[in-house]
Structures are given as structure tokens and as C-alpha cells.
């Protein structure tokens, strides 16, 4: 039996600092805490407040759903630019059904809204899946590269959202309590609101499927070497269809999240969120080349993104600087990725 220690050449007892320091997730956790301290100091203590954390998580909850889907797509070697438009479109479709067809308006509120909201949820997810299937068709059958294919659906979905909504939000039933911290038996579960809880559970389940199930394994395999995956008998096209459908479904779920927050299906609810989702994925350590990445990274990356945006607002920084800072964050994240990669090559 070969001695594993000899083969690797690394003395097992001394502590190897390198993976901890270059591990993207460790760095992220560290940065998150450091920034929290910095923001707290510079905001005169205002940042360190459960209400602030609540706001961060509410923003995080929307984008992390998109980022989870994006994680699968990017690991498979593709990209999905249509997620933001899908958020808009799904909210609009739900709005059209509830407001225009069923004539339910904002007077249906609180618990009475739960039934229509469940219907809306179904509609949103189905709309998202439809968009995902269009993406899969363009990539698999028409053979367009994912960047261009999903750019096309981005435009198409955004356009449909505008046409079907008349350019204005469709205000329907809503239960605003879902957006606020859950209170169970008099105890507040702040900062977790119902919608944030849904997002958190979604991330956890998605992470399990990515890292422990065959669905995730095939996603990595295809992103790493699509030919080898095919040669091993994997139906690459069918798997990619599932991947884009999942991304679409999660975008639809995010569309429902957005609807609940706003009380209406707005044609611009998702505008720009595809970039936030991709930023979260990249900051989380997933390589845009495919084949690698971790769900926890996406979770932390999305959190960092909104910790920064919330923190900058709390310390009163010029909002235009926020753009610059987010851009630097993404550049830094890609830089660490590149460093890790070159280390492994040696």
C-alpha cells in the first residue's frame, strides 16, 4: 500500500497556512468582518444594528437567488445574462394574471393575499423556466454561445415585460408581513424575514445539490472538460438544458421575491441584477472559465456586495463611489482567482 504522505511530499503535522490565506471563502469571511468594523466606526456606531443587518439580508435574499442559478451556469462553462430580465418578466406575468385577468388589487392584503401569492409564485417560476428553456434551446440546438444567447433573451424578456405591463408596475395583492422579521411566539427572529428564510434555505439546498449530488458533479465535469464528459456517457446537452432551466426557475423565484417586496410586478424590477449576480459569483471565487467554484463562496460574495452597499450608505459616502468600489471588488476577486490558479499549475 503506497504511503500517501510520501507521495504528496507534504509533512502532515506542520500547519499549512497557504490554503487558508488564499482560500477565497476564508478571505471573504475575513473581509466581511473587517468591513463591518470599519463601517461601524465610520458611521458612528449606526452600522452595527440589527435593522441594518435586516436591510442587508433583504437585499442579499433577492440577488443570492439569481447568484445560485448563475453559479451552476458558470461552473458548467456558460453564463446567463437573462436573469435580471426574467425577474422583471415573471413579476409582470404574475401581475397581469392577478390584476388584469383576476381583477385582484392591493385591497387584498395580509393573510388574504396568501392564496393569490402562491399562485403568483407558481406563475413566476414557470415563467422563469420558460425563459431558461429558451436559453437552453439557443445554446444547445441553435449553437449560439451562452453570452450571446442569454443576451438575446435578456432583451426579449425585458421587452415583453415592458409590453405586457404597459411600462408601469402592476399593483396586486400583497402581504407585506412576509418582508419583515418573523415573530414566533413573541420572539423576533430578526433579521430573518420569511422571504430571507426562503432564500437561505434555497442556497443551502442548492449547495447540497452542487457539492454532493450527481447534478452538481456533472455540472463541474462539463465545465471542466465537456468532451470528456460526453465521452464518459454524459448527455451534455440534456444536462445543460436542466442547468439553464434551474437558473430560470430561480430567477422566477427571485421575481416573486421582488414582487413581494414591492407589492407589484414592475417591468424594471430586475434591471441590472444580472451584473450583481455575476459579481457575487465571481467575488465568491467561482471561475468564469468553468469547472470550479463553491456555493458558500456565492453566499458570502453576495453578502459582501450588499454589506458594502449598505455600509457606504450608512457612512454617507457619495453613491457614485459605490460603483467604483464594487468594480474594484470584482477585479480583486478575479485577481485572487488568478493567483490561486497559477499556484496550482506549479
Amino acid at each position: 500500500m503506497t504511503d500517501s504522505k510520501q507521495a504528496t511530499g507534504v509533512a502532515p503535522r506542520s500547519f499549512n497556512w497557504k490554503p487558508l490565506v488564499t482560500n477565497q471563502s476564508s478571505i471573504l469571511v475575513f473581509v466581511i468582518f473587517v468591513l463591518a468594523a470599519v463601517f461601524t466606526v465610520y458611521s458612528g456606531g449606526k452600522f452595527w444594528d440589527i435593522a441594518v443587518f435586516n436591510n442587508i439580508l433583504t437585499d442579499w435574499g433577492l440577488v443570492v437567488l439569481l447568484a445560485v442559478g448563475q453559479t451552476f451556469v458558470v461552473i458548467s462553462g456558460g453564463i446567463d445574462l437573462s436573469v435580471g430580465s426574467t425577474v422583471s418578466l415573471s413579476g409582470v406575468v404574475a401581475g397581469v394574471v392577478m390584476v388584469n385577468w383576476m381583477h385582484l388589487d392591493l385591497s387584498v392584503s395580509n393573510e388574504a393575499a396568501i392564496a393569490p401569492l402562491l399562485l403568483a409564485l407558481l406563475i413566476c417560476v414557470l415563467t422563469g423556466i420558460a425563459v431558461g428553456l429558451v436559453n437552453a434551446f439557443l445554446v444547445n440546438t441553435v449553437n449560439i454561445v451562452p453570452f450571446i444567447a442569454t443576451l438575446a433573451t435578456l432583451g426579449g424578456a425585458a421587452g415583453l415585460a415592458i409590453i405586457w405591463s404597459g411600462g408601469m408596475p402592476l399593483q396586486g395583492p400583497n402581504f407585506y408581513g412576509l418582508v419583515n422579521p418573523i415573530v414566533l411566539g413573541g420572539v423576533s427572529l430578526s433579521p430573518f424575514s420569511f422571504i430571507v428564510l426562503v432564500s437561505t434555505i434555497t442556497v443551502l439546498i442548492a449547495g447540497l445539490f452542487l457539492h454532493r449530488a450527481r447534478f452538481g458533479l456533472y455540472t463541474y465535469a462539463i465545465g471542466s472538460n465537456a468532451f470528456a464528459a460526453k465521452a464518459a456517457g454524459i448527455n451534455v446537452k440534456r444536462h445543460l438544458t436542466w442547468v439553464y432551466a434551474v437558473s430560470g426557475a430561480l430567477s422566477g423565484l427571485a421575481g416573486m421575491y421582488a414582487y413581494t417586496r414591492l407589492g407589484s410586478g414592475s417591468p424594471s424590477s430586475g434591471a441590472g441584477f444580472e451584473l450583481q449576480a455575476i459579481a457575487a459569483v465571481v467575488i465568491g471565487g467561482t471561475s468564469l472559465m468553468g469547472g470550479s467554484g463553491k456555493m458558500v463562496g456565492t453566499l458570502l460574495g453576495a453578502f459582501l456586495l450588499y454589506e458594502v452597499q449598505s455600509g457606504l450608505l450608512m457612512v454617507g459616502m457619495d453613491p457614485n463611489w459605490k460603483q467604483v468600489i464594487v468594480a474594484f471588488m470584482i477585479a480583486g476577486a478575479v485577481g485572487v482567482q488568478g493567483f490561486n490558479f497559477s499556484q496550482r499549475r506549479k
Binding site: T2, A7, R214, L217, A228, A231, G233, N235, G291
Partner: protein
Amino acid sequence: MTGELIYEVKNVSKRYGSVVALDGASLKLHAGEVIGLVGDNGAGKSTLVKVLSGAHKPDGGQIFLDGVERVWESPRGALEAGVETLYQDSSLAAHLTVSENVFLGREKFKSGFLGWLGFLDRKTMIREAQEDLEKVGIAFPSANRPVSQLSGGQRQAVAIGRAVSWASKVIILDEPTNHLGARQAGEVLQVIRAAKAKGLGVIFISHTLPHVLQVTDRIVVLRLGRIVKDTPTSEYNVDTLLGTITGAIQTIKVEGD
């Protein structure tokens, strides 16, 4: 030494656009037989490999496994029938671990509901991958390391080990000794001999003519998509083999028997 006919292609052709890659090639492989498939660049070896492995469907011709005509819709069909293929350079997914690569496409699941959802029994696969590779003569530190952390030789070893441990009928090896040092190449040849001894049919493609002469029973020469010679290895030495490949030595197309 060689047993019954297990794998046969008759008159297969394949074109890519206007390029004719294979033009009526026929080949017979018997159990326990090692065939060397040689030819110059562009002769059609890789295409023939892909037709044999199910990666590409031929435009014309037939494929027989154990005497039964088969049509491979995808590599999956050939794999399930017991035909394993090692492709040039690209058999493994570098980001995945050794055991994930060994079991790629043939994963083991957890039992019960979790297994139905697709959750993998990674512990078992790691253990078995380790055992399988060792059985084939490949010593492995840990089957849980990403392939990207292995050297070129080790990766090749994993790819070959995978092919050999899964193969039940035929192994096709496309340039398995590329990028390998002399000692490691020697180990690959050992693996080929072991497979032969097990009763598998082996198709061995290589540019390294001495290796071909060492382990094969028969040599099939491909030129411009056609098989121009199919004779026992004993009829060749390095020079005559080279000459046949390049065309310096004239050949008459002969059916191997």
C-alpha cells in the same frame, strides 16, 4: 492466443464537411488480441477511434460487437456494451478528483430517497477507485485529489486505469504514451499486456513504433482514410513499418483474417 471475433467494423466512412476522414475502412478485433493502429497525421486514426467509441456516428458502414450489428447513438451505448476508450489528451476532467473521474458516468448513489435525488456515495467511490486502480497496477496516493494536481504521467495512469477497470470487452487507447517518460511508458505497455491476458481486445494507437512492435499481435496501417495493410506484427521491423506508414514501401490492400 487470440479468441473469437469480438469487435468488427465493415466499410465505415466518415466525412466532415468536404473532408473525407474515413473511406471504407474495415477492421476485425478478437478477444485477447492487441491490434496496433498506425498511420501518418491525417490518416484517419482519431476518426476511426471516435467511430469505434461511439463518439461519432459513421456516414456509412456497419459496426458489429460479438457478431451483433450495433449502432452507437452516443458514447454511452458503447460504454455500456463494454467498449472503453482512452482519447488523446482529453479523457479526464481536470477539476474533478481521481475517483470522480474513474466513476464519471457510472456513479454510485446513496441508498434510499437521497440516492433517488442523486446524492452520491462518495466514500464508496473513493475506496473502490483506489482499489480498482491498484488492481490494474497503478499505485495511488489518494483517489480524492483533483486530477489537476497530478503530473501528466499520473493523469494518463488514471485514464488508462479507468479504461481497463471498466472494460469488459474492448479497450481502445489513442496515443496513451504521449507525454510520458520511458519508465511510465513501459508501465502502460504492461497494462496492455495485462488486458490482453484478461481476454480483452485492445486497439493501440501510437506514433512510437518500437512500442507498437513490442506489444501488438497485428498491425493495421491507415492512410488517407483507408486501411492499406493489415498483417501480423511479426512481419515488420521498425524500418519496414515506417516505410509502410509513409508510403515509401508499396502496399496492396489485404484483408486481415
